[in-house]
């Protein structure tokens, strides 16, 4: 048999095996998360090596426990979910209001320093969060703003607006200039053109960018830890889970329910917009 035939045969077998391995490796932890959240803790301790749920012992009390307010003996995740939703939604709305005009300007309008601006944003996006964490921590301590969600939203804006501009800019550039010029000729101002023509055309990209910002804000941990740790009622869900998973008093299965609760919204949002997001992020890669 020729080398070519051997290789083809090997790869024909290898390909599905590799795909299967990757699927198991990526999904197994999430499957385990779900299964562990549905079992009473005694069951977990008795049969630690099982990932199958004994249907007769299936329970949803873990979810009730984790969501109930602290005053009622729960872990208060419902309130924390509210905080996270508030912070993430505020970040998305403000980030878009700032980034849409910014991205349009960078993609369409010739102004002094336009090229440098893109490089600056890239640098900001890549810059280590931990280096910024120190002065911001000190500043918020000084202003006694630690524990306030407003400070957190400000930091998230700084972290997401540059990448949002990058994603939106790529899309604005695909809109034919002639469409916009027609608008200008018809007497619209630049802002009018953006509002009436460019923005509606760019809507899919705006939605994808918004969801991307939402996921970053929802998942963020370091700044939430630094700013909010002393005030339990302002915790975001990510911070709440991290803080509680260090203590031995809360059963693992209850915290697993918490993990499922914070993972589901992001994964659902992601699946709804997977195509758009992937395209927005990798649009540079296809050009090589």
């Amino acid at each position: 048999m020729s080398r070519d035939r051997v290789e083809r045969a090997v790869f024909a077998v290898l390909r599905p095996v590799v795909v299967g391995c990757f699927l198991i490796a990526t999904l197994l932890p999430f499957y385990a998360m779900l299964m562990l959240s549905l079992r009473p803790i005694e069951d977990l301790l008795r049969r630690p090596d099982s990932l199958l749920v004994d249907l007769s012992r299936l329970t949803l009390t873990t979810y009730a426990d984790v969501l109930r307010p602290v005053a009622d003996g729960g872990q208060g995740f419902l309130g924390l979910l509210g905080n996270s939703a508030l912070v993430a939604t505020a970040s998305v709305l403000v980030a878009l209001v700032i980034a849409v005009p910014g991205a349009y300007a960078v993609s369409r309008l010739e102004f002094f320093g336009r090229r440098h601006v893109s490089a600056l944003f890239l640098a900001v996006y890549l810059f280590p969060g931990i280096v910024l964490a120190i002065p911001l921590f000190v500043l918020l301590t000084k202003m006694q703003l630690r524990g306030s969600l407003v400070g957190l939203v400000l930091v998230y804006l700084a972290q997401t607006v540059p990448v949002a501009i990058y994603m939106l800019k790529n899309y604005f550039e695909t809109i034919p200039v002639s469409v916009e010029e027609a608008g200008l000729v018809d007497g619209l101002s630049r802002v009018g053109v953006i509002r009436r023509i460019s923005l509606p055309l760019a809507m899919p990209s705006v939605v994808a960018t918004g969801i991307f910002v939402f996921m970053i804000a929802w998942n963020e941990f370091l700044f939430a830890l630094l700013f909010l740790v002393e005030r339990r009622d302002s915790w975001t869900v990510s911070l709440g889970l991290a803080q509680l998973s260090g203590s031995i008093e809360v059963p693992t299965t209850v915290l697993m329910a918490g993990s499922v609760v914070i993972t589901v919204p992001v994964v659902v949002l992601f699946f709804l917009t997977e195509r758009l997001l992937s395209q927005g992020l990798t649009s540079g890669a296809e050009k090589g």
Binding site: T26, L120, I130, L139, V191, N219, L222, V267, S278, E286
Partner: protein, 312 residues
Amino acid sequence: MARTLRQHDARTGLLLLTPTLVIVLAVVLVPLAWSVLIAFQRVRLIDVGRTGLFDKLTLDNFVRVFASDALWNSLRTTVLYTAGSTFLAIALGLVAALALRRPFPGRAFVRAAMLIPYVAPVVAVTFVWRVLLNPEFGLVNSWGRRLFGWDDPIAFLSQARGEITLFGLDVPVPTALLTVIAFEGWRYFPFAFLFLLARLSALPGDQEEAATVDGATPTQRFRHIVLPQLMPVIAVLVVLRTIWTFNEFDDVFLLTGGAAGTEVVSVRVYELLTVQRNVGAAAAQSVLLAVVLVVLLGAYLWLLRRREGAGS
């Protein structure tokens, strides 16, 4: 008329960009400059309220940071961790992208499923990993004992040095560090996968077809045609992943808390800041981290440019 429109556009452009510039200036650039300043001052968290902007400058923080063994240990750990994680994530991403290159039923689902580790909240995934790797009731250890006959449970996240027996030799391995690197590979391969797959699907097919006609085998085609065309994307991925891993805080902090030989620089900065409450030293250390990163990247880009120059 055309001139005035252009002038008008220039003004509008700056105006539209102003909010972004203000926030970047206020939340990134100014704090950054301030951080450098703090690194040269004696600041502790208790007297933060009293320190002025232009307190006496001193090199004490840097002297202190450079003199401690912990710095060099954590720098070494960070470099190992960054190199290992970056390599693993890109290698896994490349294998996954190649496996998914040709269409098959369910490919869209597989592709989306493989991105989940990257988008799921870091706190949730580190927690699941910690539970699964737990020595007492973790799934991995109980399966390992049952299927592979491990004698003792392995404390994946709290053991600094373990020994594995290879060909009768006991080889010491940094267990916790390797586990953290494996986690990074798992969590970030989707990022590399996404970019490589996008590039793969955009490759023109004619060269490969011609090579097939000329009798090139699949590995030869990969080595001589596909891989060279992927190299620019891989180079970008190396830069991005290196930057992000070098400063990674969440993953290590949440998995091990920096214990058992996994104290990377960013975790040390956090500890200086919140446990020792020495703001000046924390700032000095973080500035150092940024400098090392810039130097490493500069060297990498310089090498890349030189190689390209030699090639043309």
